[in-house]
Chain length 381, copies 4
């Protein structure tokens, strides 16, 4: 076991998500940021590298430069993996180049702009044997892990109904016109791809359903909204879902839901029990039962499954949040990569991979297609 060395692509100082990745990777003392290509210009990249207290020979003007130069460094110095935290259109190229040059990859979601690109990355991962983590952070939450384990163990019985919503209000006005960089690229199809809020938060909602229930979304009927004036991409959506086992459900997501901060919630109903989880109060898993009163699970509390316990760092009642869940993706990735350096291989890594990435891109394209057809049913993949 040693500290893994991380090279960051994108995420210059001032970037929300770059900062999140840095904190999440630092939390558990298993990963060290050693280099970065933080921006599209060498000058900005340098400024970020300096602010991050990196040595001056370890920040680079482009991801290509970083990947190729790091490869030349001695094996005990060069980075072990890249963390890609750029806008959507800049995921594929650096992920591909990193894999081709022997570096493991952590990549933000949605994986790529097209399903074809996503599948090409999957092929590369398979052929190189390298590890690939997609940063769906919410499955890193202890109570989400408990939820998945309960379904997996049959506690709820056959799943009959799901309901998920992911509601934000930060794009309720035209923030993209007033200097909000993240908003600016998210409303730009050349950078975001065919989905707007769909790609940003819809994919989280879709991933959460498939993660918790273990069931694939088979088909969907999507009614998307472009509520902000002049927007080319969806900023709101309502979707009917049918899962592979016959269960039905709804998804609602929005970035124009005024006043909502990050209201991401899921409800899953089975034959024997049901569960409810809210991201804004993540340390509770509410369960309801056909024959007994409501039971509320908490991290490191009683009667948890092992994966839920493993995902929590501190005693019960000491709240963990967004960064800790995010850090679980990094921690589990680091453990997995470390295990591959030794003889104790981990068979099933506990973090989202390139496969989840493909599903997410399929979801985006299916929803856009359905919406074009006035919410006709479209199947995923």
């Amino acid at each position: 076991m040693r500290k893994l060395r991380m090279g960051m692509i994108g995420g210059g100082i001032g970037s929300f998500i770059g900062d999140v990745h840095r904190k999440a990777s630092a939390l558990d003392g298993k990963i060290e940021l050693v280099c970065g290509a933080f921006s599209s210009t060498a000058e900005k990249s340098k400024a970020s590298g300096q602010a991050l207290l990196l040595p001056e020979d370890r920040y680079y003007g482009s991801f290509e430069e970083m990947i190729l130069k790091e490869k030349e460094l001695p094996v005990d110095i060069r980075m072990d993996f890249v963390s890609i935290v750029t806008p959507n259109h800049m995921h594929f190229a650096p992920a591909k180049l990193a894999l081709e040059n022997g570096f493991h990859v952590v990549c933000d979601k949605p994986l790529t702009l097209t399903v074809d690109e996503a599948k090409r990355l999957e092929d590369l991962v398979k052929s190189t044997g390298l590890h690939f983590a997609l940063t769906h952070n919410y499955p890193g939450t202890p109570m989400v892990k408990q939820a998945k384990a309960m379904v997996e163990n049959g506690d709820l019985g056959k799943i009959r109904k799901v309901q998920v919503h992911y509601l934000q209000g930060w794009m309720a006005t035209a923030v993209e016109d007033s200097g909000n960089k993240q908003a600016a690229w998210r409303v730009d199809p050349s950078k975001s791809g065919v989905g707007g809020a769909l790609g940003d938060i819809g994919t989280h909602a879709h991933n959460m359903i498939e993660y918790v229930t273990g069931l694939k979304v088979k088909e969907l009927a999507a009614d998307l909204g472009k509520v902000g004036k002049g927007r080319l991409l969806d900023d709101d959506g309502n979707i009917l879902l049918r899962l592979e086992n016959g269960a039905k459900g709804t998804m609602s997501f929005s970035q124009i839901a005024v006043g909502e901060e990050n209201n991401f919630s899921i409800r899953v109903y089975g034959e024997k029990g049901s569960l409810e989880w809210h991201q804004e109060n993540p340390n509770e898993l509410i369960t309801r039962w056909i024959d007994r009163p409501k039971v509320v699970y908490t991290p490191n509390g009683h009667e948890l499954y092992p994966k839920a316990i493993a995902a929590s760092r501190i005693p019960a009642g000491h709240p963990e949040g967004y960064l800790e869940a995010f850090a679980n993706v990094y921690k589990n990735f680091a453990t997995h990569v470390n295990s591959s350096l030794t003889t104790t291989k981990i068979e099933t890594p506990d973090y989202p991979t390139v496969s989840e990435g493909i599903r997410g891109v399929q979801f985006i394209h299916a929803a856009v297609e359905s919406d074009k057809q006035n919410a006709a049913w479209v199947s995923l993949g």
Copy 2:
């Protein structure tokens, strides 16, 4: 002002909803139960009449008998109105007969089995000048009245998105086969009509949207479920909504959502603010704003609109619930009928009327039609 005299149709002892109507009508001391045709058999009706401490000449073997005999009684003794609390298929005939014989009507929802019947009742109400209340009880809740007033006064700005769910679990198993009378008639199309959960709770959800937003649902796409084995009517449903002003939304309802008791919730998003209300904790109205923190209103608390204040009986912090909201329908109906006996007419009565009844029946039929067409868009009315 005098106490109104009520005759009840249906609602014999042991009936959930009959008891609710009796308690709700008694609460404010404005209405007195004077007679009843409580059951389909004279014997059972008598047993109920006795248990309810009615004089023996005031319980009847059928609604026809009650209406015709009461009409013969002196004007200061005979009932003023009927309260119809029978299964759905038994709403139309007694309502019609009561109106034809000069009695005001309070009637449970859904109004009738068909839109045609509903419109015939509307015609009768208009031609007789009698009053007709439909017992959608939830609009009687103080915080729902506040929600409506806020939208009406433009506090939220133009409405962009709605989300409503009404989740119950009491029919998650085949309770209709084990002696649950209410379940038994609700799964029977000859008694419930074309909608199952749709008629029972979907209509509440639909009414809530139109009540709070003041906007009509223009079209819907419904994916209904008949989850319980052998059921002929829906017990679960997921619906995409489009409102007349272009707002979109989702509705999800269920009676197989295991463990849910009566989880009826609405969220409404406008350009400037949004609101959220949960029936199971009805004494809070949560509002969120584009430029200030979350504000939570409470009954008889600060900064309420007059109709919200009028709907509350006790000081802030003293919770009111389901029966009080229900009682508000009766109280406002009684006030209205009383006003019609005097010169001080009330122009716009504050309770749901036959018009809301028509909308509800249109909603049920549109949803069933859409579901038949694999969730194609169908317009309401």
Copy 3:
């Protein structure tokens, strides 16, 4: 079984608590208001009687007149019991006179101004065999009944710790000087007695502890506050408690806790489990356990004790509130009185009686005494 006839003393139109008693007694159809001495002047009493639609020979100018005249009426017409809803100093005299003349009594709390008066009433109740209900309404709440039953059945093990607070803010400013009648008499020692907030809400808090735990408060150390300028009676208080079994606890109450509406909460900790209840969200009983996760009980939900089930009128998820809890006192009193008219006697009536009244007055006096001695320990009774 017949409807009981109630005569009200105090509670004229406009009075908060008179209206509450009327609604609570009407809810279940077991009690009928037949007469009243609603005010200290005959004129005001008449106005209330008319507004309440009483016949003109059934409202009286004084409680003495009412008690003596009703006694003359035929047995099947005259009132069965009085409901005393006057300020504190006017409880003893009418209760005494009613008992002496053969009428059962429902009386607001605190029972009397002095312990001696309270005990004299107890003697009268015993010697006459009449029934006496003290309207501590909160024990009428289904989830409070469940709490008591859980402790009684040993589910929590030996009780070790209690915590209760009752926080209101309505007297945070000098409302007694601006026409608030209730505030005016509550700050007046000649009407309230030696306790201010102590008598109004402290007694509820004390009663709740003894009701739920089944344990007597043995001694207390009270630090009272007279926060409002010029007030002669406490409007705030903090108390250390020691129960008869060695358990300890705190009580905090206030009527100057700005912004609090009616925040009455209790926590009880035993060796094996603990419970928590909040009056403002009364339909949840939160329990925590030494060896399993948090369990939340709801009225008419799963795994309830019989008394909790009996206290709820409507299906799970349909909230009941303050009036319903209050009505349970009246309902159980009516059932009890009715039972005493027949051969099926109820041995242990399920409502607070004159004994709880004595405890409350002892509590007030002990707290005032302790406060005078700079929070020295003083024992109760």
Copy 4:
């Protein structure tokens, strides 16, 4: 600005609080763990050092060795400060030695066993000009900072009442006898000092009151409990409080409150408004007002004071928890120490210092003294 180098004293692998300090100090990339004396034996210290991936010449057999040897290292290599995470009785000696040898100090609470020791450390801090942080982590929470700022800015008006409780259940059984190391030293007066739960969590509660209100606790009356059989130190306590401005309040704390995880809550009532915060759901600050409805603040939400904004790392709605609050102490300490290395001095550092440490020790001793005198009033300091 550079990364500060931290040497840890105590906190070997397996220690709850050592791990918390490591994660908290790592989160923001401003501090690096470079050395440690992790345990009382050289062997265990080595094992921890290795597990923490430290170079082998940087873990030491004792704190004395570490401090003296590090002092010999070149200035750009040796540690900048020590982090003391040992049991209470081992705070004073290493803190004193570190200060005497020119190292800044971060130290766990309570500061020392006696007030005298605490004051000696204060003297040393003053005479050396070094920086000293006491890890009261809860004031690092964004919403606690907002609470303090609101009081400081007079939003609530003059403070009249406070209520704080800190309830845990982990010592409800004799865990000290079954291998729980933390429990074992906490029940041992030679390691914990005169206070048990008092020192562990009572000090947090006391600090929170003084931090948020800006008022000193003037005197207290404490009724402590030694509930666990054979315990020599308190595991439960109830305290009456009087603040320097005349406000009153209660504190209740417990480690035998079965089922409670880390229920630390504060309520503060002023003349114009009040606030409420719960550690288990730390991302809400609930405020109530004399003339407007309840307002709920959230991190990075609307209308926050600068210090609340500065304490949050991620956008509104992305929950932060215990570790982030803890990390704020380290982050602010690091910023402060860094500022002292340059010309831009920070005048008032935003973290608890040795002064808060003295207050905490005074609180413990006053409470123990009061309890000995049957809850007589005792003043603090």
